[in-house]
Symmetry: C2
Amino acid sequence: MTSRAEAADMPYDGETKTPDRLRRRASRLLSGMTAQSDRLMNEGLAQVDARKWHYAVLASLQEHGPGSQATLSRRTGIYRSDMVGVLNELAERGFVERAPDPDDRRRNVITITAQGRRHLRRLDKVLDDLHDELLAPLTPAERDQFVQLLTRLLDHHTQQAPHLPIS
Amino acid sequence: MTSRAEAADMPYDGETKTPDRLRRRASRLLSGMTAQSDRLMNEGLAQVDARKWHYAVLASLQEHGPGSQATLSRRTGIYRSDMVGVLNELAERGFVERAPDPDDRRRNVITITAQGRRHLRRLDKVLDDLHDELLAPLTPAERDQFVQLLTRLLDHHTQQAPHLPIS
DNA sequence: CCTACATCGTTAGGCTGGCTAACGCAAGAG
DNA sequence: CTCTTGCGTTAGCCAGCCTAACGATGTAGG
C-alpha cells in the first residue's frame, strides 16, 4: 500500500505473484505436455505405419461396432471432412471395409476387418508401451489420479461447450 | 480361454481391455484438454487484444529482466523466427522496447516498458480468471496436485529430450 | 592479421491439425 | 412436391511448429 514503487531498476513493480507463473500456468503445462505426448505417440505409431486417427477409428469400431462415417466422426472427434482420408488409408491397408448402406443410400457402413482387429491389437500394445514412457515419472496411483483429473476436466468442458464433436 | 470366438456378429474378439480405452488414454485426454484450454485462453486473450505469446514474453521480461531476442526465445519456447513478429506486435503497442545492444552489435536488447507492465498485470488477471474457469471442476487441492503432476511429467520429458527450447 | 566457426536477427517457406464452406445426393417431414 | 436435414466428399483457410538460409557480427586459434 505504501508508496515504494518508482524504483526504476527494480523489475518487480509490487507484484507479489508466484515468481514462475509462466511455468506454473496450467494452460502452459498442458500444451507443453501435449506437445511432448503428441511427439511421442506420432513417432511411435509411425514405426508401425499408423497414426493416432487410425487407432481412434479402429478402437471405436471394435468397441461400438460398425457405423457410418458421420457416426465414426462423432465418436472419435475427427471431422467428417478429415475422416474421408483416414478411412481411405485404413481401407487401402485392408483394416476396414467401406460398403454402401442399403437402408440409407447416403451412408457408407464402415466395418473393421479381421486384419484390422489384429492391427488394433498391435496398436494397443504399442500405445501401452508409449504411455508407460509418457507417464514414467508417476506411480501407478498417481497415473490413475492424473487420468481421473483429466477426465473430469474434459467432461466438464465438453458437456457445457460442445465445441468439439469428441465422444 | 475356451474356444468361443468365431462368432462373427460379436465385435469383441476376446479383448479383455478396459472397454473405453479410447477415452481413457492419457494422450487423448491431454490433447482434448489442451484443445479446450487453448480455445479458452485464445478467446479470452483476444478480448484484450493479446495472444498467448504476448503474455509469455512480457512475463519472462518481468521475471528475468531484459534480454536479447534469442534469450527470450529460449526462455519462452518461442522460435526465434517467430519471436520477430511477436516483438513487432508488442513494440507497436508500446509494451516493449527494442534497442541495439552496444556490447554486441548483433543483438537487440528487449526491455519491458511501464505500459507493458501495466498490460501484463491486466493479462495476469485475465489469465487467472480463465484458469479458474478451466479448472472449475477441481478443488483447490486437486488443482495443485494437477499442476504438480503436470510439472513433474513435463520436467521429466524436457530434461532428457530437449526437443523443445521451452524453459 | 587471417581463417574458421558460432551466434544474432530476419525472411521465407513447409507441414500438420483443426476447422469452415460448399457441393450433389438422398431421406424424412409437412 | 417442396423444405429441411443429414450424408460423403472436395477444397481451402489459418495457426503452430519447425527448418533453412542470409548477411552481419562476434570469438578462438594459428
